[in-house]
């Protein structure tokens, strides 16, 4: 097999390979680019989800107006609901402006970490406002419905709304926790890189 390359020479090359591997085994990997890509992926996901929520929120404005008027709910209730959705969309877009995923690939990480911390804070503030608002909104919704004549269609609407509200709340809180966890991970990675 090794007729053309002398046995000693082959052995020497194999020894050199072992030397090389032995030297490398002692080394630790410092891979900033890979960590930056991982952070980019996480923040992109957060931003993508925000965009989806904004789109759903915007689409819900005309839908809620239509459905509420069909069931004879007051204009004030529909208007407040629409206003809330609009504010939620604008707030989500505004709060997301503090972070740009692509900046995590090559820009100053300390500046990005400040932006991420700000986004986390804004998300938390929105939750603090959103949950009490939803509770009040749900009470108002129930009062509006209580004044209506109850038939099968109203019953269906009420049960549908109740399920939607509970599911929305659970999904919303889950999404909030996931987002905050992802942002925490990115902050931790930045800390590790900039330590």
């Amino acid at each position: 097999m090794d007729a053309n390359v002398g046995i000693n020479e082959l052995e020497e090359m194999r020894q050199q390979v072992s030397l090389l591997k032995g030297k490398l085994e002692k080394e630790q990997i410092i891979n900033e680019k890979l960590i930056r890509r991982s952070m980019y992926g996480k923040v992109s996901k957060v931003k993508r989800k925000s965009m989806i929520l904004c789109t759903v929120g915007l689409l819900n404005i005309p839908c809620s107006f239509y459905v509420f008027s069909k069931f004879g709910l007051s204009f004030a209730f529909s208007a407040v609901t629409a206003l809330f959705l609009l504010v939620a969309v604008i707030y989500t877009m505004w709060s997301g402006n503090s972070v740009r995923a692509d900046y995590l690939l090559d820009k100053d990480l300390l500046e990005q970490s400040r932006g991420i911390a700000l986004l986390k804070r804004r998300n938390f503030l929105w939750l603090r406002f959103g949950i009490p608002f939803i509770c009040i909104w749900a009470g108002w919704f129930a009062t509006e419905l209580a004044m209506k004549e109850w038939n099968e269609v109203t019953m269906g609407f009420v049960s549908g709304s109740f399920v939607g509200l509970v599911a929305g709340l659970i999904l919303g809180i889950q999404n909030y926790r996931k987002t905050q966890r992802r942002l925490d991970e990115v902050l931790q990675q930045i800390e590790e890189l900039t330590r």
């Binding site: 090794d2 007729a3 053309n4 390359v5 002398g6 020479e9 090359m13 194999r14 020894q15 050199q16 390979v17 030397l19 090389l20 591997k21 032995g22 030297k23 490398l24 085994e25 080394e27 630790q28 990997i29 410092i30 891979n31 900033e32 680019k33 890979l34 890509r37 991982s38 090559d106």
Partner: protein
């Protein structure tokens, strides 16, 4: 996702010397080694989620490493400057081991990229079938190529 990341980190930790050796043999200087190393890691990460275990893990790692290095060598891509991947500079170190490694590098690096891959796998004591699977040619073809490579290495030694 976190489990996947942990598994990936463990895999890289276990096979880092193989990956780095390939990158070293395909580079002209330490910056290029680091760039190649990162590119290989990125490609490994991209494929890690969908790696189904069709071939052994080490075979897959060799494959991705060679494909990345050979394709980048072909493209002669200009890299941005990026931080070190390992705190080592095999091109600059002056100890006796590094001199030996440089001798190995000088021999292997003079070969064309594809032959470089074959000879490195041959030095790892892999069978012709295994080498063929990694570089994507038949075992017969590996043996023919290796014959020529050994001839080439012999000429280098005689010079």
């Amino acid at each position: 996702m976190e489990t996947l990341q942990t598994e990936f980190a463990q895999m890289v930790g276990k096979h880092k010397s193989t990956i780095y050796t390939v990158c070293f043999m395909f580079s002209k200087d330490s910056d290029e080694v680091n760039d190649l190393f990162q590119e290989v890691l990125i490609n490994l990460w991209k494929g890690f989620g969908s790696y189904q275990g069709r071939s052994s893990l080490s075979t897959w790692i060799w494959k991705v490493s060679f494909n990345t290095c050979i394709s980048l060598e072909r493209k002669r891509r200009k890299f941005d400057t990026v931080p070190l991947t390992m705190d080592i500079d095999l091109f600059e170190d002056k100890d006796e081991d590094s001199k030996q490694i440089r001798r190995l590098y000088d021999r292997i690096h003079r070969l064309p990229p594809f032959d470089r891959a074959i000879v490195m796998l041959w030095l790892e004591n892999l069978s012709y079938e295994e080498i063929g699977e990694i570089v994507g040619i038949s075992a017969k073809n590996v043996s023919v190529r290796l014959f020529r490579i050994k001839e080439e290495l012999r000429k280098m030694s005689n010079k």
